[in-house]
């Protein structure tokens, strides 16, 4: 059964207007900045919030149709929601919390208990079975909440940042668990996340929500490989510089960037140059020699990233990044405010058309 939804929610100074379709077995990742409306979207899908206008269908069943005044209440939707706040029932043990869904679905006490035990051990929390939520740490509570949502075996699974608060071991483990679970189910799933890794590992398709509107949508890797929005590019870890197309190149004010053009581009058409920070070299002076793309930037920040340092620069409205070694930072005496050159080989730059006039990063 696939999910088709068209939702409009209006609040004082925020409006959500989204249209989505998720096929059976498919996982749709929703990414977007804080306050973009991700949680609001899940609330509407789950029926906890009644949109001002819209239509939601799962397979043949119409869950919502504001025009025909149809509104199926949450518990009849067979929807499972893992909200941003775990909200474990405080008077039940972890095990009883997880058994709640199976019990609600009609399972006997013993069967529900067994199911709950299985899920608890899946999230690596079997030793916490007897604890009350008040006795769990933040990450432990999050894992139990995840187990509870999964144990209910809903027909539409809605996950709001399921891997938040998890430690460095638990996060990959839970991600792996979700991967296994989601891969083998026939129901659609909507997954809200801030971590592109979750989207990459878990989702088939990806939606980027900005300010209540869907600005990008498509197969995960495709959207990430060819981001059209600066936000998308940033989550993809790629630099995206928007400008206008020129023959085999991109004009960015008075800078021209050459690169590999994926699709035919008309001159003057809006387009973007996309490249990885790792492909960027930083120079104090404009280097001579073989033709290269060189962008004059002002350094705005330095962020260690594991074994490299990410140097953030600013040029016009854009903030491209370069990953360099700590040694290079020291050699170049890089510091915020310094003016340097970001140099990137043409072979590393992809130039994509941009739909609509999206603004700079």
């Amino acid at each position: 059964m696939s999910l088709r939804a068209e939702i409009e929610v209006r609040r004082d100074d925020f409006a959500l207007s989204a249209e989505l379709a998720v096929r059976p077995g498919e996982v749709l990742a929703v990414l977007g900045p804080n306050g973009a409306g991700k949680s609001t979207l899940l609330s509407a899908l789950s029926g906890l919030l009644v949109p001002d206008r819209g239509r939601i269908e799962l397979g043949e069943r119409v869950w919502l149709d504001t025009e025909r005044r149809v509104h199926v209440p949450t518990h009849r939707r067979g929807v499972g929601l893992l909200a941003q706040n775990p909200l474990l029932f405080p008077y039940l043990s972890a095990l009883e919390n997880v058994a709640f869904g199976p019990r609600a679905a009609g399972a006997g006490k013993v069967a529900a208990r067994r199911t709950a035990e299985r899920w608890l051990s899946e999230v690596d929390a079997e030793t916490l079975a007897g604890r009350r939520p008040g006795q769990l740490s933040g990450g432990q509570a999050q894992r139990v909440a995840l187990a509870r949502a999964l144990a209910a075996d809903p027909e539409l699974l809605l996950l709001d940042e399921p891997l938040a608060a998890l430690d460095i071991d638990a996060a990959p483990a839970m991600r792996g668990l979700l991967h296994r679970v989601l891969q083998h189910q026939e129901h659609p799933t909507v997954l809200v996340t801030h971590d592109v890794l979750d989207a990459v590992v878990l989702a088939d398709r990806l939606v980027v929500l900005l300010d209540g509107r869907i600005v990008e949508q498509g197969p995960t890797r495709e959207v990430l490989a060819r981001p059209r929005e600066a936000f998308t590019a940033r989550i993809a870890g790629l630099n995206l510089l928007p400008g206008t197309a020129a023959a085999g190149a991109l004009a960015l004010g008075d800078i021209t960037l050459t690169g590999h053009v994926a699709e035919p581009l008309d001159e003057g058409e809006p387009a973007a140059a996309v490249f990885a920070p790792a492909a960027v070299a930083v120079h104090r002076e404009l280097p001579g020699g073989s033709p290269r793309n060189a962008i004059p930037v002002q350094v705005t920040g330095l962020e260690p990233r594991g074994d490299v340092v990410r140097v953030r620069g600013s040029v016009g409205d854009c903030a491209p990044a370069a990953d360099v070694t700590p040694a290079a930072v020291a050699d170049l005496a890089l510091a915020p405010g310094e003016r340097v050159w970001f140099v990137v080989k043409a072979a590393e730059v992809a130039i994509h058309p941009l739909s609509g006039g999206s603004s700079g990063a």
């Binding site: 789950s46 029926g47 518990h75």
Partner: protein, 256 residues
């Protein structure tokens, strides 16, 4: 908690405890055993405990759902209904008893109808229960409704996302969440039912063994012997304290 608040708190406690303590210091311990084991006292005690428990249960069965409707229905006009529920509190109990009498008495609106089926409520033990329920239920409703609003519907929503229908959510989420509030509300209602006097004497009369509950027995005794009446009050207080302090299940108090 600001330490200075201990002062008014102790004053408040004194205002409640000192008069009652003073009252009981007047009781002649020598007369106590005879007074407390007189058939009149024992009959009244038994009747009071029995009717008090029944009307507390009735308050729960009717008042619990009423509280839920007030807190959750989200309908307009609930403000007014909430005010109506408090009426028995405002009315002097005697007027409440009159109201019950006029409704359910032989000439009353509903009483006439009941009479056709041979049911006569006034002056029966059932009338005592009704009178007590009338005055006690508002306590339960107000107490529970407040707690329901404070708790909000969050956990019930979580239950819905786990597939629980309204009944299941009610049984397995609302009720357990409300246990502490339910406990204190039930105690309030039971205490009020136990102490009920005016509505009972007006609607149910005061016949030993049938309708003369402990407060009524105390009143009647006071007509001739105030000190004996005070001693009987001691019985009432002991029963109430037993229920409140000892019998009240710990579980109901919530996690501290």
């Amino acid at each position: 908690m600001p330490g200075a608040l201990w002062l008014p708190a102790l004053l408040g406690l004194a205002l409640i405890v000192l008069p009652v303590a003073g009252l009981f210091l007047r009781v002649d311990p020598a007369r106590l055993p005879a007074l407390l084991t007189s058939p009149a006292a024992l009959d009244a005690l038994e009747l009071s405990v029995r009717t008090g428990l029944i009307s507390t249960a009735l308050s729960l069965v009717l008042g619990g759902p009423l509280a839920l409707v007030l807190a959750r229905s989200g309908l307009r006009g609930m403000r007014v209904v909430r005010g109506l529920v408090l009426l028995p509190l405002v009315l002097p109990p005697v007027v409440g008893g009159l109201a019950l009498l006029y409704l359910l008495g032989r000439t009353g609106l509903l009483g006439q109808a009941l009479d056709v089926f041979g049911v006569r409520l006034p002056y029966t033990t059932a009338a005592v229960v009704l009178a007590q329920t009338f005055v006690a239920m508002p306590f339960l409703v107000v107490g529970l409704e407040g707690a329901l609003r404070t708790a909000g519907a969050r956990y019930e929503q979580v239950a819905a996302t786990l597939g629980a229908g309204p009944w299941l959510a009610f049984r397995r989420v609302t009720v357990p969440l409300m246990l502490p509030a339910l406990g204190s509300s039930l105690v309030l209602a039971f205490a009020r039912a136990l102490g009920e006097f005016g509505a009972t004497i007006t609607f149910a009369g005061s016949l030993q063994g049938t309708t003369r509950t402990l407060p009524l027995a105390i009143y009647t005794t006071a007509q001739s012997d105030v000190d004996a009446a005070v001693a009987m009050s001691l019985l009432l207080v002991v029963v109430a304290l037993l229920v409140i302090v000892v019998a009240r299940p710990r579980a109901v108090e919530g996690q501290s």
